[in-house]
């Protein structure tokens, strides 16, 4: 049936009203025929709506909403470390291991986190509380080593400071 216009079951309903409104705000910033320029923002919005990760269905929904091919949205979703394509814990800890943080001891930060949480980089704790991720430079080299929890940056990390931050999380 590939020779006929296929009206496949639409997936845009997977994006809730709030997300769509949010995406529309981004779409409005670009020329009308360049909707796909909003793909990064749209994927982020879709991810936030979905407990912090993107399913393939959601990626397709974003692609359809922005009138682009699914593979093109998928390329973006697989390129950036800020997008997750598997379920994540309640708190996503993104540890920078790039050059500045590495020189200032990010290896120790990772080791401490892994020990304390009982999970390795890229894993989620069994109770679903924490996901530990290694990410590229987050642009906070002045206070290296650093990590990001949800949307908050924490710098000048030491084992004590890390424990304090984690203790405050639910």
């Amino acid at each position: 049936m590939s020779l006929l216009q296929q009206r496949q079951a639409s997936k845009t309903h997977l994006l809730n009203a709030e997300s769509r409104q949010d995406i529309d705000r981004w779409v409005a910033k670009y020329p009308a025929d360049r909707k796909s320029s909003a793909v990064m923002a749209a994927l982020r919005i879709a991810q936030e709506q979905n407990a912090g990760y993107l399913s393939n269905d959601l990626i397709e929904a974003v692609a359809e909403y922005l009138e682009m091919e699914a593979i093109a949205a998928y390329e973006v979703a697989t390129f950036y470390s800020m997008y997750d394509r598997d379920p994540v814990g309640r708190h996503k800890i993104s540890v920078c291991t790039n050059i500045s943080c590495m020189l200032c001891g990010s290896d120790d930060v990772v080791a401490h986190l892994e020990k304390r949480l009982g999970i390795k980089l890229g894993e989620t704790s069994d109770d679903g509380r924490f996901t530990l991720k290694e990410v590229e430079c987050l642009g906070a080299c002045v206070e290296a080593p650093m990590f990001e929890v949800a949307k908050t940056y924490h710098g000048n990390l030491t084992p004590d400071k890390i424990d304090k931050i984690l203790d405050e999380l639910d």
Binding site: M1, L3, L4, Q5, R7, N56, E69, E75
Partner: protein, 792 residues
């Protein structure tokens, strides 16, 4: 600012177009700069870095593909800095590339091999482990070895920019980037095979050709495509006189450097098990293998007998529109020589009432290359993207330039360009839609209406869509009205054509035909039509057209490259006709059980690759070729068979030595006659408006069921385009008939029926059944006839 500027490459002064990239300037000057990702037909990606060169005053090497020329620029492609940069990039690219050249199909024609030799270092310093990438399944045409991929992204850009559907992408990042399709889908583009040529390494190779040969063992022959009316240029590669593969031959005026999958892979049918190897004759009910002499004597004897008993007017000849012009000319000369003008190549046509008004040959109305300069195009009954993929590509280019493309179609076809106005109606309403467009044009233009048009359109009304189409056609400086292949079987073809002519004249647009087969133009020029001799000359002896021949029942048929059960507008009637005939001679490359049942003599003839000949494309360009491959001794080129038959029948004038002699005789007469036949306006008598109450069949012609060869190509038959195994109806029609998707139904036309499952899609108009020709082995009635559905 002047159009050209002067730069210097390696001390050689070069004049180059302003805005060109350094690599283009170097290519024009014949200076080699190594490259992988740069390709002249694709956008610049500058991601492989192989083309790094030194530019005076630039602090570091720059990529030649992404550096625009500036006046007085001094470029060095061989300086120590440039060479060092190129060597380093090469070393980098080879880090993850496997050393499997001995088992790689690309070996011997590999850019990576060549450039590594020419621009690389002799050793690698890399000792770490190499990455391995899982292969992807892209379908039956393209084979993958993804570990070899160097991420040049030519295949991805080809999909986005040329094929028009982005099927391949590059998900992942850095070392984890992998080229693939979304969720492992097979690629479905009709131009997909071109990524094999584009791939500079052995990551994407031809699946049918895989492991069968090495490029240096192949001989290359220039040839012309036998499957559509554009005449794409081919390079047929053979080894020991057998076709190994088909590649595009660059011709900017026709196919550029592309080839449709149909043209590229149809050769896979040449060694099909159904290939007829020896002449066969039927005596009683027994088939006997005989030598050519016996077979021809038997054939001539049978034809003479019918001629004597029933008269020459009971002899008929049907020829495939993809036969060469030499075959067409000789067959019609033979038929007219024995006193019958019953010859036709328009096997799928149903309406012949405007035969006399037809132009010399059905032409495109502009050149193939000019299609991309169109500003507005109205397609009538055309699935151009699949019917003539290369023409579809040109229209897509026009569309990307801003052209308005509009359709009046019986099905909502999936195009790879946006359609401005997409009128999808019941086939019987297509004429009314065209009338509405003509009516809209009458209100817009001062051009005189053809005689009788005003009266005809008296009760016709036009809506917004018609007005928009009319306005686009009228305001465009280059507009075309194109009648497509799917319209050719339409029972009101003459009305559609007349209205298309009216529209084109009122709008000042050119009228063009996208004909079926490779050589419909050649068929008209050669006289393979019942009412005209070669070069459009009036035939004193008028014969019957296909439909009349098949409906009145002839005593003897001469078939050339024709399978009546597959190739005719009404397969059931065609099969009945050949079964009832006293004597059937079939010149055919293949043999089937059907042929054994109806034929009396089967003569094995060469396919397109094995014969010399000429095709005339839709713009009227004559393209001749020599035989690329040879066959078993007992398979003969059809023109030679016809030559002998002509002599045996004492027709006279059949003493040709070569196929060029045949062509030159026809061409000579064509040129002395300088025919100027134009399409003549014939006002349709009535405006067809009524829609029958019965369900109407839409007998779509699939791109991979058009001729004997394509139908036997296993890789093409395994593609999505060939995999239609259901009848499709509109959701409203499904409800009326009490059907849901997946139901099994018996569809019948006349006495014939087939059991098939139903799919539901609103791309098909209400009250219609979309049932392509030949689907499910069906031998049914008219392509656009009434049809019955019954749930089983």
């Amino acid at each position: 600012m002047s159009d050209t500027i002067n730069i210097e490459i390696n001390g050689i002064p070069v004049e180059v177009r302003t805005g060109a990239m350094v690599i283009e300037a170097a290519d024009e000057a014949g200076i080699t700069i190594p490259r992988f990702c740069y390709h002249k037909k694709l956008s610049v990606a500058a991601n492989c870095r192989m083309c790094l060169i030194e530019v005076e005053k630039a602090p570091k090497p720059v990529p030649a593909c992404a550096t625009p020329v500036t006046d007085g620029m001094k470029v060095f492609t061989k300086s120590p800095l440039a060479l060092d940069a190129q060597q380093s990039v090469m070393e980098f690219l080879l880090i993850n590339h496997p050393l499997d050249c001995p088992i790689c199909d690309q070996g011997g024609e590999c850019d990576l091999q060549d450039i590594a030799i020419g621009f690389g270092k002799d050793a690698s310093r890399y000792n770490e482990s190499k990455r391995v990438v899982r292969n992807k399944n892209l379908g039956s045409l393209i084979s993958t070895d993804m570990t070899r991929c160097i991420h040049c992204t030519r295949c991805v850009r080809f999909g986005q920019e040329v094929a028009g559907i982005m099927e391949l992408g590059a998900p992942g990042r850095g070392e984890f980037t992998e080229i693939g399709t979304y969720m492992e889908r097979a690629v479905s583009s009709e131009l997909s095979g071109n990524v094999i040529d584009l791939c500079p390494v052995g990551a994407l190779t031809s699946k049918p050709y895989r492991y069968t040969g090495r490029p240096w063992e192949n001989e290359s022959h220039a040839h012309v495509s036998p499957h559509d009316c554009l005449g794409s240029n081919l390079q047929i590669e053979t080894r020991r006189h057998q076709v190994m593969r088909v590649l595009p031959r660059e011709n900017e005026a026709i196919n550029e450097m592309w080839l449709s999958d149909r043209d590229r892979f149809s050769y896979t049918a040449l060694q099909h098990e159904e290939r007829l190897q020896q002449p066969l004759i039927k005596q009683g009910s027994e088939w006997r293998q005989v030598d050519w002499e016996t077979a021809l004597a038997y054939a001539i004897d049978g034809l003479q007998r019918v001629r004597k008993v029933d008269g020459a007017e009971k002899l008929a000849a049907l020829i495939s529109p993809s036969s060469t012009i030499e075959e067409m000319y000789l067959l019609q000369k033979l038929m007219r020589g024995v006193g019958s003008a019953n010859i036709d190549h328009r096997l799928r046509q149903s309406d012949f009432s405007d035969d006399d008004g037809q132009p010399l040959f059905p032409a495109l109305g502009c050149s193939v290359a000019e299609l991309e300069d169109r500003d507005a195009v109205l397609l009538i009954g055309s699935n151009i993207r699949k019917d003539q993929p290369i023409a579809g590509h040109r229209l897509r280019k026009a569309s990307r330039r801003g052209a308005h493309i509009m359709c009046v179609n019986p099905v909502d076809y999936a195009f790879n360009f946006p359609v401005d106005e997409n009128i999808v109606v019941h086939p019987e309403l297509m004429a009314r839609e065209l009338a509405s467009i003509a009516k809209a044009l009458l209100t817009l233009t001062a051009n005189a209406a053809p005689a009788g048009l005003n009266v005809l359109l008296e009760n016709v009304e036009s809506g917004d869509a018609h007005l928009t189409i009319a306005r686009h056609l009228q305001t465009a400086s280059n507009a075309s009205v194109l009648i497509g292949t799917q319209a050719m079987s339409h029972p009101q073809l003459s009305t559609l054509r007349a209205l298309a002519l009216a529209i084109s004249e009122l709008a000042g647009a050119s009228l063009g035909y996208l004909t079926e087969g490779a050589n419909a133009a050649g068929a008209w020029i050669a006289g393979a039509v019942p009412h005209r001799r070669h070069a459009g000359e009036h035939s004193p002896l008028t014969g019957l057209h296909t439909r009349e021949m098949l409906n009145t029942g002839m005593s003897a048929y001469l078939l050339l490259n024709v399978e009546p059960e597959q190739d005719c507008a009404n397969p059931a009637a065609a099969v009945r006709a050949v079964h009832e005939a006293d004597f059937v001679v079939s010149l055919t490359p293949y043999i089937t059980d059907d042929m054994r049942a109806y034929a009396d003599v089967l003569l094995p003839v060469a396919t397109f690759a094995e014969t010399s000949g000429t095709y005339v494309n839709a713009e009227g360009k004559w393209q001749s070729f020599a035989a690329s491959a040879s066959t078993a001794d007992d398979i003969k080129p059809a023109w030679k068979v016809l030559r002998v038959m002509g002599n045996l029948l004492d027709v006279g004038g059949f003493d040709y030595l070569t196929s060029e002699d045949v062509r030159d005789e026809l061409k000579g007469q064509f040129e002395t006659l300088t025919p100027t036949l134009k399409y003549q306006w014939q006002c349709p008598a009535v405006m067809p408006t009524k829609v029958s109450k019965d369900l109407t069949r839409i007998g779509h012609l699939g791109m991979y069921s058009i001729d004997m060869v394509v139908r036997r190509s296993a890789p093409l038959q395994a593609t999505a385009d060939a995999q239609i195994e259901t009848a499709i109806v509109h959701s409203v029609t499904a409800k009326q008939q009490g059907l849901v998707a997946g139901d099994t139904v018996r569809v019948s036309q006349g006495g014939e029926s087939v059991t098939i499952s139903i799919a539901v899609a609103d791309a098909v108009p209400e009250n219609c059944v979309f049932l392509p020709m030949g689907v499910g082995g069906a031998v049914l009635g008219d392509a656009y006839g009434s049809i019955e559905l019954a749930k089983v």
